[in-house]
Amino acid sequence: MLSKALSAAVFGIDAYVVEVEVDVGSGRMGDFNVVGLPDIAVKESRERIKSALKNCGFEFPNPQSVTINLAPADIRKEGSGFDLPMALGILGCQGTFFGKPLNGQLFLGELSLDGSVRPVRGTLSAALCAREQGIRNVVVPEANAREAAVVEGIEVYAIRSLPQAVDLVNAPESFKPVQLDARALLADAAQYPLDPRDVRGQQGAKRALEVACAGSHKSFS
C-alpha cells in the first residue's frame, strides 16, 4: 500500500517541496527505511514516529516493512520537519484516511514521543514555497502558525498534536485557518525599546550615525 504526503525542506533561505512517499509491506519484514539522502535528524525520526504512533493509540504496521522516500531524492534533507508527513503517510497506508489523498496540503512538524507537534525552522520559507507551487493548504505546528500566516494567498492550519492532524485530514471543515493581517502586525512590531536619546553627550557620534543611516554608509568609531 502506497501513500504520499507533501512537505518542504529549506535550502539556503528558500524552501522546496518534498514529496514524502510511504510504502508499507513491500520489503523485508520489520524493516523501516528512509531513503532520499536523509541526515541524522531525519533518520532518527523513525524512533519518534514509532513512539508517537503507539502513544496516540495508532498502530505501527508491525511486522510489515515500511519504506519512505523523500523526493527529489538527490538533495540532502535535514531537520525534523518531516516527522509529521511521514507519520501521516504511514497512517494513510493503513487506511486511517479512508482513501483520502494527502497531497492537497503541505505538512510540517516535528513529533514528540507523546504525539504532540513541536515547532520547526524555516516555516515562513516553506509557506512562501507552498504559495509559489500553488499548494493552498499548509499545516504547521501551532508555535509556527503566525509566522506562516504572514503569507497571503494560502490557508494556514495550526495543529498541536498528531491526532489533531489526522482529524484535520478527515474533517477539514471543522478547522479554521489562522487569520493574520501582516501590515497591521508590522506596524505593531516596529517598536524599539531603545532610543538614542538615552545616551548622554556624544553629539558628534550621533550626527555621524544619522549621516550614515541617511546615505547607507558604513561607519567606524
Binding site: 493574520l180 502586525l185 558628534g204 549621516v211 558604513k218 568609531s221
Partner: protein
C-alpha cells in the same frame, strides 16, 4: 551603547523587508515563537572570538551567519582589531555585493547580506592614545601592530570615521535636551526619499553610498570654494582616490539631510572630518 540604537533611526522596514528578515531568522532557528513577523531591524554584535563560518554562515547544510542575520539592519563589530584577520577579510564580499555565497563540494548557497557595518576600536591597546586626561603607555610598534590588524582594503570600504571622546561629567549628569529617534528618523526618511528620486532612472542604486564614479561626477558637483577646500584636504592629508570619492558621497548625503540641492562647503567640510582614521594612522 550608541551603536545598539542605530536601528531606531533607520527608515521603517517595508513588508517585503520584514518578511525577508523573518525568513532568515526563522531558518536560523532564532525566531521567538509567538511573534509571527519581526518588524524591527536586526542589530547583531558578534563577539571578537567569532569564526569566519560564524560570520558569513556555514555548516554541511549551510545556515546563515551573522552578516545575513544582520540583513537590512546593523552588524556591529566592537573592538575591531581583536577580531582575527581572516575573519575580517571574509566581510569583503558581503560589503561589495550585499550577498554572501557559500560553496561546498556538493552545493552552493547564496544568502542575502545587505547590512550597515558599524565598528568600534580603541586608538591603541591601552586606549588612552590622544586622550587629554591620561597618558598613553603604548610604544609605537605596539600601536602599529594593533591597528595593522585592519587591512587597508577593509578600511577603504568604510565611509565614515569618527572620534568619540570620553563623555564629560557635566554632559553625563546634565539634562541636555536631545532629540528622540522619531525626529532623527524623519530627517533620515526624507533624505532617503530624495536619493530614491535622484536614482529613479538608475538600476540597482538606491542610496548615495552605492554611487559609481560616473554618478559621483554627475550628482556631486561642488562650488569653486568647495573645490579649494577639497584640494587642501586631499593634498594636506594625503587622502587616497577612494577616500576622495567617499568624501563626495558623504557630502551628498549631508546636503540631502539639509534638503539642499547643491553641496555647500559646510557639507563638504563635515564630510572631510569623517576621515579621521586616514589622518591618524594610514596617511
Amino acid at each position: 551603547m550608541l551603536a545598539m540604537r542605530i536601528p531606531t533611526i533607520f527608515p521603517p522596514m517595508s513588508l517585503e523587508e520584514a518578511i525577508e528578515r523573518t525568513r532568515i531568522h526563522s531558518v536560523a532557528g532564532l525566531l521567538e515563537d509567538a511573534l509571527g513577523l519581526v518588524g524591527t531591524r536586526p542589530f547583531r554584535s558578534p563577539r571578537h572570538t567569532i569564526s569566519d563560518a560564524g560570520l558569513i554562515g556555514g555548516g554541511a547544510m549551510p545556515r546563515p551567519g551573522e552578516v545575513s542575520l544582520g540583513h537590512n539592519g546593523v552588524l556591529f563589530l566592537d573592538e575591531l582589531p581583536e577580531f582575527q584577520r581572516n575573519v575580517l577579510e571574509v566581510l569583503r564580499q558581503p560589503l561589495e555585493e550585499g550577498a554572501v555565497t557559500i560553496s561546498r563540494a556538493a552545493l552552493s548557497v547564496t544568502f542575502p547580506a545587505r547590512f550597515m557595518l558599524a565598528a568600534a576600536m580603541n586608538p591603541c591597546p591601552c586606549g588612552f592614545f590622544d586622550d587629554s586626561s591620561h597618558e598613553c603607555h603604548c610604544t609605537p610598534p605596539q600601536i602599529q601592530r594593533y591597528v595593522s590588524k585592519i587591512s587597508g582594503p577593509l578600511l577603504d570600504r568604510i565611509d565614515i570615521h569618527i572620534d568619540v571622546p570620553a563623555v564629560k561629567y557635566k554632559e553625563l549628569r546634565g539634562e541636555a535636551a536631545t532629540e528622540d529617534s522619531a525626529a532623527v528618523r524623519e530627517r533620515v526618511v526624507r533624505a532617503r526619499k530624495r536619493q530614491l528620486e535622484r536614482f529613479a532612472s538608475e538600476k540597482r542604486i538606491y542610496a548615495n553610498a552605492q554611487m559609481p564614479p560616473k554618478l559621483i561626477r554627475k550628482h556631486c558637483a561642488i562650488s569653486a570654494e568647495g573645490e579649494k577646500l577639497l584640494e587642501t584636504a586631499v593634498t594636506r592629508l594625503g587622502l587616497s582616490a577612494r577616500a576622495h570619492d567617499r568624501i563626495l558621497k558623504v557630502a551628498r548625503t549631508i546636503a540631502d539631510l539639509d534638503s539642499a540641492a547643491d553641496i555647500a562647503s559646510r557639507h563638504l567640510s563635515e564630510a572631510i572630518q569623517y576621515r579621521t582614521l586616514d589622518r591618524t594612522y594610514w596617511a
